[in-house]
Amino acid sequence: MSKSAYEIDDHHDSVERYVVVAWVDNEAGVLARVSGLFSGRGYNIESLAVSEVDHERKISRITIATNGTKEVIKQIQAQVLKLVPVHKVNIYPINEETIFRELALVKFIGEGEILQKAEQLCVDNKFEFLDKTSKSFIVQALGLRTEIDEFIKKIKALGTVSISRTGALAMKKGSETVKDNKGLVL
């Protein structure tokens, strides 16, 4: 895991996917601080989702899907937590204990039989239609990253598509919550 210039072989733990969640004060530049830290230290951002989650306390939740060895992920956690406007950082490995969701809007353009086939694919996946015309539709795909990837692969094979995707969101199962320094639920 070492980033030292003198590390010659790098044979340690295997690289895995993780989701990093940071609760931050929603102030100017905070996203740039977090994303800049990732690029500056050579960490990867696979996807990123961010929005204010508490308007009164002005707290935003930043969810970053990344990959690395266990040690690298721990280092990411420590580095992000060091940023002044960050309240808390949690790491979620991809496993059964955590809920993960992503959303995609997919516009399909086609006519006749092809359009019908594409519509049927969405119906099979139980995705919601948000817009329909004789030459196109927009569908909302909701699910795990792998499920959406699979769906996109299939629908792309049928015709022209335009895609907009969110990053992953993550939340731990059960009643457990994350609290800030004052003991307030984040």
């Binding site: 980033k3 530049g29 740039a32």
Partner: protein, 586 residues
């Protein structure tokens, strides 16, 4: 209703509240309201530098030699970008700086206005935190936060960017005790369980070593005292990083000298062979570890650091203790004395074989060098400077390169805050402005910048500052006409292809000193060296000392790139064995 003050008045009221006595700065369009205010301030003196980078390094020198934060004030655009190197330098070496920069008026931000740049964007990765203050009523609070963040936890530089219109606007002052930073709570006290675990390892160890760093200096002089007491009580050998020099007395027999790339044979071998390493406020930097996978293979490692992100970053440790060095060392001492009262008496015997081994390594005399009758050896120059100034409580700054390593090897520091050098960033041009800041913080003391002829030219304009404020700093140039460290690496690693490392044209440093209104002295032979050094020390004015040294001397000992601690080069006779792999490393 509370008293209404202008933004500029608020800034200085806040600086006064934090006890600021000196500001290093350079005026410009976007800070004119602040400069208007400076002229009315009774307790704050402004030091006009000749380049903003100089302001930054001067503030660093002030901070490192006084234990107080250094303050810099610069204008927008080029003022701010010139400050970037100094901020990065302070960030790498954990030096508390508060930089105030002017910004174009808020309505012009984002329009590519004259002298506009995205200062907070540019300085985000090289500050601990930064702010753009668009509301005058947030100004006092922001400055208080800036001081708190710069000086607490792991110290570092912060920047407050203030648009010109905000400096004119009127708002309300808020005092420092009304300000809290919810998300920022450095951990100062470590858990007792981790202290106890560490003490268990300490009492069992037969081959221990203490490896101390700049964190001890940053934790204040009491932390250095605690480190000294801990070292004496345990009788353990101690080595130090470049930044930690002076925390434990350098002239003490328990001190093995500096470790790392240009560390002593005994320090590096002890690090490699030890069974217990106690890292106090150091960060396993690559200049220290050498090849990480062969770093101290058989030791248990204790790491004391105030920054949790330093733990397990480079080297995995067995006991991590997050806290302030002073608290942790005191807690360890208390636990040792309470739980293992017999330890101190039994310990000397237990580690006596280890000391025997260390003394064998010492016999190698890895800092010895071939003397010369006709030419001044650079090592000899530093040795003589040390011998002739050691009774003076002197302060040493350096530039970056061979001279810096020779200074670290041959000048011994018995007290903390006496040694100001750019370690992490390795900034050539650091030493002269740092000497200015050091002299400002320590009037009447001897301040010497041990320099190279290449480095010194990077911020030579600050001689003018030294002359203006009658700062009797001494610039001691080891002049070999080469960028010595570059030349050394080219010799050892690039087949003696000395590409662009020789300076064909150099100024006459004696005349240069005189042109600035300072004093120039030149030494050419070992015979005249002592007299000339004494002459330099006795002059109560700034001096440039041009010490002509042997041109092709290399800095040894050296751990070549890609090698572990136990494979050092001690001198020219074993320069073989540098690998192709090692060549690509820095």
């Amino acid at each position: 209703m509370s008293e209404q003050l202008t933004g500029a008045e608020i800034v200085f009221k806040a600086l006064n509240e934090h006890g600021v006595d000196h500001i290093f700065g350079y005026p410009g369009g976007a800070v004119l309201p602040l400069y208007d205010q400076i002229s009315k301030e009774k307790n704050i003196k402004h030091i006009l530098v000749r380049h903003e980078q100089g302001a930054g390094h001067a503030a660093e020198g002030y901070a490192r030699s006084s234990g107080k934060p250094g303050i810099a004030l610069v204008t927008s655009g080029p003022g701010a970008t010139n400050m970037v190197t100094a901020l990065t330098d302070a960030y790498m070496d954990s030096i508390p700086l508060v930089c105030i920069s002017g910004q174009v008026p808020t309505h012009l931000i984002g329009t590519d206005a004259f002298q506009e740049c995205d200062t907070t964007g540019i300085t985000r990765p090289c500050t601990k935190h930064n702010w753009l203050v668009k509301d005058v009523n947030q100004l006092a609070e922001t400055i208080h936060k800036a001081f708190h963040i710069a000086t607490s936890g792991r110290p570092g530089p912060v920047l407050v960017d203030i648009p010109k219109d905000v400096q004119f606007q009127k708002g309300v002052y808020k005092s420092a005790n009304q300000v809290v930073v919810e998300t920022y709570k450095p951990k100062l006290k470590a858990e007792l369980t981790s202290i106890e675990k560490a003490v268990e390892l300490i009492v069992k160890s037969k081959k221990p070593i203490i490896y101390s760093g700049g964190g001890v200096i940053n934790a204040g002089t009491k932390a250095s005292d605690a480190l000294t007491e801990f070292t004496r009580v345990t009788n353990f050998p101690i080595t130090s990083t470049l930044q930690g020099l002076g925390a434990f007395p350098g002239s003490d027999p328990q001190f093995l000298g500096m470790l790392g790339m240009h560390g002593t044979y005994e320090a590096n071998n002890a690090m490699h062979e030890c069974d217990l390493m106690i890292n106090v406020g150091a960060r396993f930097d690559d200049r220290i570890t050498g090849r990480v996978d062969a770093f101290s293979p058989n030791s248990k490692k204790i790491h004391i650091d105030i920054d949790p992100s330093s733990i397990n970053k480079i080297v995995k440790v067995d006991v991590a203790i997050v806290g302030d060095c002073l608290n942790v060392l005191n807690d360890m001492l208390t636990t040792l004395k309470n739980k293992h009262s017999d330890f101190c008496s039994s310990n000397k015997e237990k580690i006596s074989d280890w000391w025997k081994q260390i003394n064998k390594w010492r016999e190698k005399k890895s800092l010895s060098y071939k003397h010369d009758d006709k030419l001044i050896m650079p090592q000899y120059a530093v040795e003589r400077l040390y011998e002739l100034t050691k009774n003076k409580d002197s302060f040493i700054t350096t530039e970056v390169g061979q001279h810096q390593m020779w200074a670290a090897q041959y000048y011994k520091f018995d007290k903390p805050n006496r040694w100001m050098t750019s370690g992490g960033l390795g900034t050539m041009g650091y030493g002269l402005p740092a000497a200015i800041g050091t002299q400002i913080a320590n009037p009447g003391k001897l301040v010497v910048d041990i320099a190279g002829e290449a480095s010194i030219l990077m911020n030579i304009q600050e001689m003018s500052t030294a002359v203006q404020y009658k700062l009797p700093i001494k610039i001691f140039i080891l002049n070999n006409q080469w960028m010595g460290m570059v030349r050394q690496w080219q010799e050892l690693l690039h087949g003696k292809n000395y590409s662009e490392s020789y300076t064909e044209a150099l100024p006459d440093f004696v005349k240069l000193a005189e042109a600035y209104g300072a004093v120039g002295i030149r030494a050419k032979t070992p015979k005249e060296l002592d007299d000339k050094i004494n002459e330099m020390v006795d002059i109560d004015r700034p001096v440039i000392f041009d010490c002509l040294v042997k041109k092709d001397e290399n800095c040894f000992p050296m751990i070549p790139s890609g090698k572990p601690h136990n494979e050092m080069i001690l001198g020219p006779e074993d320069e073989e064995g540098i690998t192709e792999e090692g060549k690509v490393l820095v």
